[in-house]
């Protein structure tokens, strides 16, 4: 049906993942950082599906389900935390949230 090589998808997923990492390092806004995490998860999903399709197995697809579920849960809790942070210290800049330093 389609003659797309597996490696294309893998490279794409690698690039997306790397971009996610980049954003994770360089964004300051907590919400955006969250989004970068989601981006990484998506990249991983892509790799999962590509592999499972290439190997003709279903496990990869099932993992994608679980990844999505976990992402949903993580988003719910994480955004609640973000709400708290912004409520407590009127800022979403992650660099203002550094009370954890020794």
């Amino acid at each position: 049906m389609n003659g797309i090589p597996l490696s294309y998808f893998l490279v794409l997923s690698a690039i997306l993942f790397g971009l996610g990492v980049l954003g994770f390092i360089f964004k300051r806004n907590i919400i955006t950082i969250f989004m970068c995490i989601e981006l990484m998860l998506n990249a991983v999903n892509l790799a999962f599906i590509a592999f499972s399709r290439a190997l003709g197995q279903f496990d990869g697809l099932v993992f994608v389900f679980f990844v999505i579920v976990v992402a949903a849960a993580e988003a719910a809790v994480g955004l609640a935390i973000v709400l708290l942070i912004s409520r407590n210290r009127r800022s979403l800049n992650i660099e203002n949230v550094d009370e954890m330093k020794s």
Partner: protein
């Protein structure tokens, strides 16, 4: 056959009763609690009656019936199912348990009436019924063990029922721990059984055991080991030497508990187990002989202690121990049916004795010391009459139930090979003492002059809910033994006939292997022996004991004191129960305490373990002191660190891949 095909229904009733009452009963009125708990037991009893009907509706050859309902454990080779075995022995035990249990439940409604732990008490009692019935109906040793431990648990709970009383709580713990010692042997025995027979089902065990040689003295082997180990459990559970110490303390529990658990049913579990495994023991004469020896020794030993006890329940406790000894003696000399017979009659009269004693205590307003009683005959006639009947029964006065069972045992011992005759003499002496201390109890309590302050203590007869069971039990303890009555006149012993299908195989085996005609004769039917035994010292002993007691406590009430003064040493020895508790305390408990305190606690725990833990902690702190510099608190730096780690891992990965 509705019930027989679903025996588990039988167990369901008390379990449900216990669960429901225990969970929701806190706020309930007493009557509601009664409805559930006694109702459940009554249902169980009715079911057992139905079971009996079904039992007799089919030929005896139909039994034993084994019903497997659910797989329970299935680990590789180790398979255990929820399987139940039903045969004559099971039926008998079920009747005893449910019947006596029901009576004692009813009794308890009167006795515990004023206690605010009412629902708790009955929930525990029902739980006990459940486990006891599991024990007797179990079709394999594992399930039996469940019941075994379950009744132990209930015994613990009920002994410590008044847990606010320290002595009660301690007694509970003691009972639990001491029985544990025996159960450890039992557990090892189970493992050994599985290792030997690759199964725990009775049927399989006996089937495979049949193919194994009988381990006569000199060729002792695994079967003997199994027999001894299992018996160790029985020793703990049935309070035999040397693990009997928990039973007297167990009297801290409410009297109905003492009657049900520590007289009628639970303590006889050991006997039941030995009787159930009779075929195994038939293959291990050495183990069987050990059983007999322990039994005879206990029978005599406990009786001696009972002589001088002044607490009414303590006397009964020691008497229970000694009677259990008789049962083991019976089994040990190969007269399993006689042992079980005595188990049954004992359930009747000892249950009755305890209940009556409870009634006395109730009447005296909690007084348990016989020295402060006396002359209660008039005040509580019903209690007196029933207790009198029970005393006659236990003392082995002719035509009362105890007479048949106990004298069958003695006869079996008497006509056995030589070593058995020594045991017989022990048993005989025990019989004498039994009759003495029982009548002593009776006379001290009910005859003579009141030794209590009649102003403060208002003696009153107990409510009918307590008297009813007493009467019924009295009837049974008088007539419970008449199964064997025809034998006196050359007839048959219908009891051993009834049980013979269970024991015949081992009887034949023993007859074949140990030559002595004992087994065969006792097990099956011997018209002459009991006649021969009849005039024999057993009865004489009983009557003699009665006379001495009468002389001591009615005719010459001052004799005992003079006697005690005359032989102060033995007296103190007996009074302090041979100082066994003290000895155990010195030899076992305190060393254990010392080890656990000094070695385990101060050395291992404090030095080694805490040392390790603290060392780790301080090391971590030192390291942290250095690493804290990394912790800028800036999430982006952390992110960078993470990425560095990921890159490092990847490069390592690549490096290894390149190397290949």
């Amino acid at each position: 056959m509705p019930v027989l095909d679903h025996i588990w229904i039988l167990l369901l009733f008390p379990l449900a009763g216990s669960a429901i009452t225990g969970l929701f009963g806190k706020r309930w009125s007493h009557s509601l609690v009664n409805t559930f708990t006694i109702g459940s037991v009554a249902l169980a009893f009715l079911a057992t009656l139905e079971l009996t009907r079904e039992f007799f509706s089919v030929p005896a050859s139909y039994f034993p019936v084994v019903r497997t309902f659910l797989p329970w454990i299935s680990a590789g080779q180790f398979r255990v199912n929820f399987s139940f075995q039903f045969d004559q022995l099971t039926l008998l035990m079920l009747l005893i348990v449910t019947g006596v249990g029901l009576l004692i439940h009813i009794y308890s409604t009167g006795y515990m009436g004023h206690d605010d732990g009412y629902y708790r008490f009955f929930s525990y009692m029902n739980l006990f019924m459940f486990f006891m019935m599991t024990l007797v109906t179990a079709g394999n040793l594992a399930l039996l063990f469940v019941g075994w431990e379950g009744v132990g648990l209930c015994s613990y709970l009920l002994i410590g029922f008044f847990f606010t009383k320290k002595s009660a709580a301690d007694a509970g713990k003691k009972a639990f721990i001491v029985t544990r010692i025996g159960d450890m042997g039992f557990t090892i025995g189970l493992l050994l059984v599985f290792w030997t027979f690759k199964s725990l089902d009775y049927s399989v065990i006996f089937g495979r055991a049949a193919g194994m040689p009988v381990e006569l003295p000199g060729h002792v082997g695994v079967l003997t080991a199994i027999g001894l180990l299992l018996f160790a459990g029985a020793v703990g559970k049935s309070a035999q030497l040397p693990l009997y110490v928990w039973l007297p303390d167990a009297m801290e529990g409410p009297t109905p508990v003492s009657a049900l658990i520590h007289a009628a049913t639970m303590v006889t579990a050991g006997v039941y187990m030995v009787a159930r495994m009779n075929f195994l023991y038939a293959h291990a004469p050495v183990a069987l002989f050990t059983v007999a020896v322990i039994g005879a020794l206990t029978a005599f030993y406990a009786a001696t202690i009972a002589l001088v006890q002044t607490d009414i329940k303590k006397v009964l406790a020691y008497s229970t121990i000694s009677q259990l000894g008789y049962m083991f003696l019976g089994c040990g000399v190969g007269a399993f049916s006689a042992g079980v017979f005595h188990l049954m009659t004992h359930a009747f009269f000892k249950g009755l004795l305890f209940l009556a004693a409870g009634s006395v205590i109730h009447a005296m307003g909690g007084e348990q010391d016989m020295r402060n009683m006396g002359g209660l005959r008039k005040k509580i006639p019903w209690t007196y009459a029933t207790m009198f009947a029970a005393t006659l029964a236990i003392a082995g006065i002719p035509f009362f139930s105890g007479f048949f069972s106990k004298d069958t045992i003695l006869a079996a011992a008497a006509i056995g090979p030589h070593p058995h005759r020594i045991l017989w003499t022990l048993g005989l002496a025990g019989a004498l003492l039994t009759s003495f201390y029982m009548f002593r109890l009776l006379f001290l309590t009910f005859h003579g002059q009141p030794r209590y302050d009649e102003q403060t203590v208002h003696v009153h007869e107990s409510p009918s809910s307590m008297i009813g069971p007493l009467v019924i039990l009295a009837i049974f303890s008088v007539g419970g033994g008449w199964w064997a009555l025809p034998k006196l006149f050359g007839g048959r012993d219908y009891f051993s006939d009834f049980l013979s299908p269970v024991f015949s195989a081992s009887q034949r085996l023993m007859a074949a292997t140990q030559g002595a005609g004992v087994a065969e004769e006792v097990g099956t039917n011997f018209a002459t022996d009991l006649l021969r035994v009849f005039w024999q010292p057993a009865v004489a002993a009983a009557l003699l004991g009665l006379l001495i007691a009468w002389w001591f406590y009615i005719a010459r009430p001052d004799t005992p004191r003079r006697l005690a003064d005359a032989m102060r040493g033995p007296y103190k020895l007996l009074l302090h129960k041979y100082y066994v508790d003290e000895i155990y305390g010195a030899v076992i408990v305190s060393p254990l305490l010392w080890i656990s305190r000094n070695v385990l606690w101060h050395t291992v725990d404090e030095r080694v373990l805490d040392g390790m833990v603290n060392g780790t902690g301080s090391a971590a702190r030192a390291a942290g002191g250095q690493l804290r510099r990394l912790q800028s608190g800036n999430a982006r730096s952390y992110a960078t660190w993470v990425v560095i780690g990921a890159v490092a891992v990847l490069t390592l990965f690549i490096w290894t891949m390149v190397r290949q």
